[in-house]
Amino acid sequence: MPDRFVTRGFVGRREPLGSDQAARIPPGQHLVKDFPVLSAGPTPRTPLASWSFKIEGLVKDPVSWGWDDFQRLPAQEFTKDISCVTKWTKLDTHWRGVSVDTLLEHVELDRRAAFVTAFSDGGYTTNVPLPDLIDGQAFVAYEYEGKPLAPEHGGPARLVVPHLYFWKSAKWVRGLRVMERDEPGFWESLGYNNHGDPWKEERYTGD
C-alpha cells in the first residue's frame, strides 16, 4: 500500500489544518517565504532595445511589440499563489503585467487555434492549452513586488500561469505561438507532465 505508507513519528511541519493557508497549498507541496530560482542553463540577458514580444502561428496577422510599446499596453496588478514542481509553494506573490486576454485582443485567432507554445530567449519552450491562458488566468509580467522583474526570475518579462506548475510560466518569454495541435515543450519532452495542474499533482509524464 505505497500510497498510505506511514512513517513512524512523522507529523510534518504544516500549516494548521483548516487554516486559510493550509487550504491554499496543493498536495505534496510546502510553503516557502523566499523565491527559489530554477533554470536549465545560463540566464539570458537581452537588451531592452532588441527585445520584442510576438504572437504568431494561427492568427490572421501576427503582431510584435517592442519594449516601449509593450509598456504602453494596459497593465494590471496580480496577486497569485505559485507552485513549483520541485515542491515549493509561495503565497500572495505580487506582479504587474499584461493579461494574455489583452494581448489576444490584437490578433484574430484562427478557428483551429487550440494550443499555445510560449517561447523564450535561450530556446526554452512550454506548451499550454489555449483555454488555460484566457479569461484572466495568465499574464506576461514585467514587475515583481513593485520592482522590475530580475533576470534570474525571468526578467525582463515572463509568462505567469499561476494555476499550473511554475515551469509553465516561461521565463524570458518572447512570444506565443498559436497552434492547432499540442506540441510538448522543453520539460514536457523530458519527463514532466504535459499539463501540470498542481491540485491534481500532474508532476511527471503519466501522472
Binding site: 507529523v11 510534518g12 520539460w187 503519466g206
Partner: protein, 239 residues
C-alpha cells in the same frame, strides 16, 4: 492513463556519514530502474492522519550498481523530511531528463559544484569510472571548509586513477599548507579550470543559486557556448 512513475517502498540498507551535516543513505528498491547520472528521486513521508510531504534528492550512485541507489542528504536541524530518513520510505523515480550525463553524451566534461550540489555530479563521475569512459573530466568544487567536502577520499582516489582533475575552492577556512583556491568561484578560476578542456566541453553546474549564476555567466564569458552549459539548483528548499 498509466502512471509511469509508481511510488515504491525503499528500505534503508545503510547510512554513512559523509561530513558532520551530510549523510548518504543506501536504499534498496524492489522495482529498480537504471537512472541516468544527474537524475533524482522524489521521497514522500506520510503522517498517520494522511498528511504527506515530498522532497527531491539527487542520486549519488552510478547506474552500474543495480537494485539500489545512494541518496546523499543534507540534514537540516529543522528539516521537515531529512531527519526521518532512516528506516523505510516511499520513493519514485528516476526523474529529470536534461541535467544528465552518460557515455552516450560523452565529450570533455566540466563539472562545477557548490556544497551539496556535488551529489548529482558525483553520480556522473562514478558512472564515468564504472563504465570506463576516457573522456577528460574536471571538477571544480566550492565548499566552505575542508571538513565540508563531501566524497573527499573517493574523489582523490578517482583523480589518481584516470583523466579526472579535481580542484577545490575553500571559501571560509583552509587547512595548513592548503594549495587549492581560497576564494569564491570567479572568471579567472573558471578560465584556469575549463581552459584545458577546450570549447567543446559540456558543463554541468549544481549548487546554490548565487554560485550557479556566477559560474554559468562566467563560463559564457570565458568562451563556452550557452547551449553547452546545464544548470541545476541545490538550495535550502531541497531537504
Amino acid at each position: 492513463m498509466k502512471r509511469l512513475l509508481e511510488w515504491q517502498i525503499a528500505t534503508v540498507k545503510a547510512i554513512r556519514p559523509e561530513t558532520p551535516d551530510v549523510k548518504t543513505l543506501t536504499l534498496a528498491l524492489p522495482d529498480w530502474t537504471a537512472h541516468r547520472p544527474g537524475q533524482h528521486y522524489d521521497v514522500r513521508l506520510t503522517a498517520a492522519d494522511g498528511y504527506s510531504a515530498q522532497r527531491s534528492y539527487s542520486v549519488a550512485s552510478e547506474p552500474e550498481r543495480t537494485g539500489e541507489i545512494d541518496l546523499t542528504v543534507e540534514r537540516l536541524a529543522d528539516g521537515e523530511v531529512s531527519r526521518f530518513l532512516d528506516d523505510a520510505v516511499a520513493v519514485r523515480g528516476p526523474i529529470g531528463g536534461y541535467f544528465v550525463w552518460d557515455g552516450s553524451i560523452g565529450g570533455p566534461l566540466l563539472l562545477v559544484a557548490g556544497g551539496s550540489g556535488v551529489v548529482p555530479l558525483m553520480a556522473m563521475l562514478r558512472h564515468r569510472a564504472a563504465a570506463g569512459i576516457n573522456d577528460p573530466a574536471r571538477l571544480l568544487y566550492s565548499a566552505r571548509t575542508y571538513e565540508q567536502i563531501i566524497y573527499r577520499d573517493e574523489l582523490e582516489a578517482l583523480a589518481r586513477k584516470d583523466g579526472l582533475t579535481v580542484s577545490y575552492a575553500l571559501t571560509r577556512s583552509q587547512p595548513p599548507g592548503w594549495k587549492g583556491y581560497t576564494r569564491r568561484i570567479d572568471d579567472a578560476m573558471l578560465r584556469e579550470v575549463s581552459g584545458p578542456l577546450g570549447p567543446d566541453a559540456l558543463a554541468y553546474i549544481c549548487g546554490p543559486t548565487a554560485l550557479v549564476e556566477v559560474a554559468a555567466d562566467g563560463l559564457e564569458r570565458v568562451g563556452l557556448p550557452a547551449e553547452h552549459i546545464r544548470t541545476e539548483r541545490f538550495g535550502p528548499t531541497g531537504p
